[in-house]
Subunit: 235 residues, 2 copies
């Protein structure tokens, strides 16, 4: 079974888990999830190297955060492309040129096209501010408040061809309070996002995520003693 198909083993090649995971982070806005990833990488909590922060909006704070931490960044302004396909072609080219293994969408406000997903099969993560499958699409926090749920949360998932749909890696729940505003609920969810996104990237970097149909299994780390051969046979 090859990577990208349902049931694919998305663990990193055992020979590569010696090295840091090459990630690319795509952001459009303030970049707080980007910041949580930068912080986790800098602190050594995630064995990854951010090869590029790619941003589609010239004024985004995410760009400043990358520069402040000496992380390579690149502006690919979607407004300068005549179509989503051409924009995505350029984004994919940048990521491939930088040798990115795992793409992390972090508040990226463009839908990714099927060719983009196909270029990184089971190698794109996204974070969504709701307990999927509840409240997909824009403004998950506001949708949750308007619906009147008592428990909201966030989801890190692999990206597939449907929006906010791919296999789920981690979710976190937060209580909704009677006096919550969109802002207060968003802040409480964001705190959990900043915890679970680096955690999901760490698990991927350690070769511990395995997709089986719609399920992501978290498997044991590769055997120790310097040997990274994977004790579990691939399917």
């Amino acid at each position: 079974m090859s990577e990208g198909e349902p049931g694919a083993d998305v663990r990193r090649d055992a020979n590569r888990t010696m090295s840091k995971l090459a990630i690319g982070v795509l952001a459009s806005g303030s970049g707080t999830n980007l910041q949580s990833i930068i912080d986790a990488v800098e602190a050594g909590r995630v064995p990854a190297e951010i090869r590029v922060v790619l941003c589609n909006r010239p004024g985004a704070r995410a760009l400043g955060r990358a520069k402040a931490h000496g992380v390579p960044c690149e502006l690919v302004d979607h407004k300068t492309f005549p179509s989503r396909e051409l924009f995505d072609e350029r984004v994919v080219a940048v990521l491939q040129e930088r040798g990115v293994e795992l793409v992390c969408l972090a508040g990226f406000d463009r839908l990714v096209s099927p060719p983009f997903v196909a270029a990184f099969p089971n190698r794109i993560l996204n974070i969504h501010p709701a307990l999927l499958p509840s409240f997909p699409g824009l403004h998950g926090q506001r949708q949750a408040l308007e619906y009147g749920v008592r428990i909201a949360g966030c989801t890190v998932h692999f990206v597939d061809q449907k929006t906010d749909h791919g296999p789920i890696v981690i979710q976190a729940a937060v209580a909704v309070l009677d006096d919550d505003t969109t802002e207060s609920l968003t802040a409480r969810i964001l705190a959990e996002e900043h915890r679970i996104y680096p955690e999901a990237i760490r698990l991927y970097a350690e070769g511990r995520l395995r997709i089986e149909g719609r399920h992501v299994r978290i498997v044991d780390p590769p055997a120790g003693n310097g040997s990274l051969a994977n004790p579990t046979p691939r399917c």
Copy 2:
């Protein structure tokens, strides 16, 4: 604003909160949620009196549980009615004859018809084994497992004219484990159901639930010192 409309104050009349809440429990199967309600009432944790356990299946264990605790019960076998409307008419009649203020669906496997809902506006609670709006309908636990969520749960909500849709009173979340089966996840969710359903009934009985649009607010208990006049003006 009258009861039954969106924004209605569903708190019990202040003059009635002196007395125990008259509830009717509708069950079809093993009746474990019924048991949790019986236990909570018997232990004095919920100021309610179960006026009737109404069951639509002759062999249901729920009937035996009611009898074992001396709780009035009645079999209304849906198979003996030519239509859902006539069945529901009989169910409503039984509940009204018994003076039921609040109807608690507890594993009741019939959809309630619009006239039934209209007969008890904002006075029917249901418990659903999923974090609504995720996984409405049958087998919420299995749906959650098949989808691959990391967090499942249960929901107590008021019943409105759409299935598994009305305003939410309480939700509880449980982790989904990698080795969960439908049975193990169902058991973990059930433990939370048994906690939150009596809690929701207690809040209703104490006059502390208020529906505002899709939102259920949990308000302070009526003033103490023996006075049960409600300090908050009705809208």
